[in-house]
């Protein structure tokens, strides 16, 4: 059984932005296709059109020569097109099984059998009767995939599926995807990680500003050539100059503990470290080992003992994020849709979330809208956010552009210490380079960074010192030169 999916002259125009510009592409089963492109290039828009979430202004979709009219996600499902979105769409408090059967009208018993066979076939082992909130990110994704497989899809689309997975989980995912492909499922795979494309895919299509710019076979490409096609120019490789080691201490954490009442959070145990001026401390770890709790303790979202955090000779452990900002600390959290920004609010309103007294966003309790807008325009131009409309609701920025806005918002105030958590999550190679350059520049200006990241390459590139967090405990702090990614891998797994 051969599947042929054809996109023909698809165009989708948003006010002020052509998201897909006359795109035509053809896919055949038996191959895994990569869809690449800068942030905002229109990848998600294109696959959302394929899955019925967005309706194109013009153009047709053909599956095995049949013209499909996809007016809703249900239409796509009926036509055997399955999609796993970047953000999970699961009900956390329902069991795995309930989540799987929620959109199906088959009998419970026959479904359970079907699910069991699928899990056996692909070596998935997930307890069907526990609530989804007990699952790891990798397992949740498997649930999403099984949900697609139940309908025996002909096409499976994945939008940036690995951004939340560990390396182990990623390679498991790849094994399954290859198996699906061998069985005749057509796979379309969106990612920003070029390494993955080289490992997994057979063909690659590149988009730029809504247009399809190239389709080629992987065997004729390498990472550099792909990057080049995406950004339209060669990327410089950036490297950090070894900083002159200063001994001027900026922040010191002493015997910091955090015990959560929430069983799904990680407790932090006896955290001790210090960061000097001009230094970048990297904190590595597999996600879910206490990074988010550590971030919140450092930002003041979780208050700790006054003396446990010393910043610039002040004890600040009991201060709120707002008060800490007055000491020139800035925070860039991982979760941009639920924490760092409010998608339903306009860009400039989101800029006002980070409110330093000196930026004068609010005077005597009144909103100073002109000031905020002025500031927003500067962020947008300095950080290349691809819009010029600060009145746009931020949900309409592509993932990468929203991240640039957030990082920009934090950096433009030129803080003494930036604490960031996965700052390049979901960014394209060009944007990553740009953020990395900016982070290096901050260090050169004798300002400090605490970089919590699950991306080891990023950590090795930017850090002066590295520690690994595992089950809420920090490993000893190592000099970055002494560390290799293998060693980090071992520590991340919990070995000493």
């Amino acid at each position: 059984m051969n599947t042929n999916l054809k996109i023909s002259n698809v165009t989708k125009i948003y006010p002020g932005c052509v998201a897909n510009d006359n795109v035509s592409l053809e896919f055949n089963s038996g191959k895994i296709y990569a869809l690449l492109g800068e942030n905002g290039a229109g990848k998600s828009t294109l696959v959302k059109i394929l899955s019925g979430v967005i309706i194109p202004d013009e153009g047709e979709i053909y599956l095995n020569k049949n013209n499909l009219k996809l007016n809703s996600p249900l239409d796509a499902k009926k036509n055997d097109i399955g999609m796993v979105f970047q953000h999970f769409n699961l009900f956390e408090t329902l069991s795995v099984f309930e989540n799987l059967i929620i959109d199906s009208d088959e009998q419970r018993e026959s479904l359970r059998e079907k699910i069991d066979t699928i899990m056996k076939k692909y070596n998935f082992s997930i307890d069907l009767d526990i609530p989804v909130l007990n699952l790891s990110a990798g397992q949740k994704q498997k649930v999403e995939i099984i949900r697609c497989l139940i309908r025996s899809p002909k096409v499976l689309i994945m939008d940036e599926p690995t951004s939340v997975l560990t390396e182990q989980e990623t390679s498991e995912l790849f094994l399954s995807l290859k198996k699906f492909s061998e069985e005749g499922i057509l796979i379309i795979y969106i990612t920003h990680k070029l390494k993955e494309v080289m490992q997994l895919c057979d063909e690659v299509a590149v988009m730029r500003r809504g247009k399809l710019v190239s389709v080629s076979e992987i065997k004729n490409e390498n990472i550099e050539s792909l990057a080049n096609k995406m950004v339209g120019q060669n990327l410089k490789t950036i490297k950090k100059k070894k900083a002159k080691t200063s001994s001027d201490q900026l922040i010191k954490i002493t015997n910091l503990n955090f015990t959560s009442e929430d069983p799904f959070e990680t407790n932090l145990m006896d955290i001790n470290f210090s960061v000097n001026r001009g230094e970048c401390l990297g904190i590595a770890g597999i996600s879910g080992n206490g990074q988010s709790e550590l971030f919140q303790v450092l930002s003041g979202e979780i208050i700790s003992e006054k003396n446990s955090i010393e910043f610039n000779n002040n004890y600040i452990g009991d201060l709120s994020p707002q008060e800490r900002r007055e000491f020139l600390m800035a925070f860039s959290p991982e979760d941009r849709l639920e924490q760092a920004a409010i998608p339903q609010m306009k860009i400039f309103e989101n800029v006002a979330l980070n409110n330093f007294k000196s930026s004068n966003f609010f005077n005597n309790g009144l909103i100073n809208e002109n000031k905020i807008k002025e500031h927003s325009k500067k962020i947008i131009s300095d950080f290349n956010v691809n819009t010029n409309n600060i009145e746009l609701k931020s949900q309409f920025l592509s993932g990468g552009n929203l991240q640039k806005l957030i990082i920009g918002r934090e950096l433009i105030t030129s803080p003494d210490l930036l604490i960031c958590f996965n700052p390049t999550w979901g960014l394209d190679v060009g944007a990553i380079n740009y953020i990395h350059e900016t982070l290096i520049k901050i260090n050169e200006q004798n300002k400090s960074i605490i970089l919590i990241s699950t991306d080891t390459d990023e950590l090795l590139k930017l850090s002066d010192k590295i520690s690994v967090i595992h089950k809420g405990k920090l490993s000893k702090i190592m000099n970055a030169e002494e560390v290799t990614s293998e060693k980090l891998g071992i520590l991340m797994g919990g070995a000493n």
């Binding site: 948003y14 979430v53 967005i54 309706i55 007016n71 809703s72 930002s299 003041g300 979202e301 709120s320 994020p321 707002q322 008060e323 800490r324 900002r325 925070f331 959290p333 979760d335 639920e338 924490q339 760092a340 920004a341 409010i342 339903q344 609010m345 309103e349 006002a352 979330l353 980070n354 409110n355 609010f362 309790g365 009144l366 909103i367 609701k393 309409f396």
Partner: protein, 354 residues
């Protein structure tokens, strides 16, 4: 053929159009109900919605009913905008009325310009005190404000009952469950000879203007908006969450308390058992029908006020129970929630295709 299509973005025009649609649908459904009951639908609707406000007196009654609804709904929108579900405005109204009535009774034999402001202030403070209970329990003990504020409504009504039957009942009142009449200095002045509309309407209008300013021009309004969307983001931004919860409850309690003052110091001029025909609950519908927007709330309070009047005329002229008013209020809310579907989806009529 009809097709339902998801909107790319919720449209602002639709945001304010759906309440109008909801009112229209309520009229249609109401007409249908009247028809089933054996009345002529148009005539019945006329009795319900037009006759009551056709003359000067009726119009004054409309404003009289709309005043507390508007005032309370404005207060509630402070809570609702910031993700605090204060369901107990009826209780705050009652308690505000108790406190201000108590103060007015202290002055029952006295006259003086200073009395009315004290009585008004006492009502606001009473409402605030009563609203602070669910607020404090929520911030410091993590209780659910919906339950606490709701249950306190019944407590306040029982306190009122006890007072007007027992200690505060009029010594010369032949054991009627009501207090003495307040002195004229403790009453809100009536605006026109022979009509019941009183100066309380200015309190409501002031609340509208102030709330508009706070919502859209101040840091507090911005913080409320952020907290309404995401408490996690509010925490990240560093807003003082507990302070804000208490503040919005106090504001909303004050408004409900003032509405209570208006009810007892207006035309009635005494405390008795039934000071409010559930204004505190109905105002929840008003707040949402007005989209938590001060101007929207003005219109919504007028519309909902008609249902109170219409129920009364319908009872007189058509011998149907006045609870039909509540049926109409329920339908408005129901259709409002239903038509909110249009915020996210649009309906397209497609000509039949060959």
């Amino acid at each position: 053929m009809i097709k339902i299509i998801k909107r790319d973005q919720p449209s602002r025009a639709i945001f304010f159009f759906t309440p109008v649609l909801a009112i229209f649908l309520t009229l249609v459904a109401g007409g249908l109900i009247f028809f089933i009951l054996g009345f002529k639908p148009f005539e019945a609707l006329k009795f319900f919605f037009i006759v009551p406000i056709a003359d000067k007196y009726g119009f004054s009654e409309l404003l009289l009913k709309a005043t507390p609804l508007c005032l309370i709904a404005i207060g509630l929108s402070f809570c609702f905008k910031s993700n605090n579900w204060n369901i107990g405005a009826e209780g705050q109204l009652t308690f505000g009325a108790i406190v201000s009535g108590g103060v007015a009774l202290l002055f029952y034999e006295q006259e003086g310009f200073y009395i009315l402001p004290i009585v008004i202030l006492a009502g606001a403070i009473g409402g605030m005190l009563y609203a602070s209970i669910p607020a404090i329990l929520k911030t410091y003990f993590n209780t659910n404000e919906i339950l606490v504020s709701l249950m306190l409504v019944y407590v306040s009504k029982l306190i009122l009952d006890y007072l007007v039957v027992g200690p505060w009942s009029n010594p010369e009142g032949f054991n009627f469950p009501e207090t003495r009449q307040f002195s004229d200095s403790a009453k809100l002045p009536l605006l026109f000879e022979g009509l019941r509309i009183h100066a309380g309407i200015f309190l409501a209008l002031a609340a509208v203007v102030i709330s508009w300013f706070v919502f859209y021009k101040t840091y507090l309004g911005f913080q409320m908006k952020v907290s309404g969307f995401s408490l996690k983001t509010a925490r990240y931004a560093g807003y003082k969450g507990k302070k804000m919860i208490i503040l919005v409850f106090l504001i909303s309690g004050a408004c409900a308390g003032l509405a209570g003052v208006g009810e007892i110091t207006g035309p009635i001029g005494q405390l008795h058992r039934e000071i409010s025909p559930d204004y505190g609950f109905t105002a929840i519908i008003v707040a949402f029908l007005g989209r938590l927007h001060p101007v929207g709330i003005i219109f919504a309070s007028l519309v909902v006020a008609i249902t109170y009047l219409g129920a009364e005329t319908a009872q007189i002229f058509m011998q149907i129970p006045k609870y039909t008013g509540q049926v109409f209020q329920g339908m408005i809310l129901f259709f409002l929630l239903a038509s909110d579907y249009l915020l996210f989806f649009k309906i397209k009529f497609i000509g039949s295709k060959k």
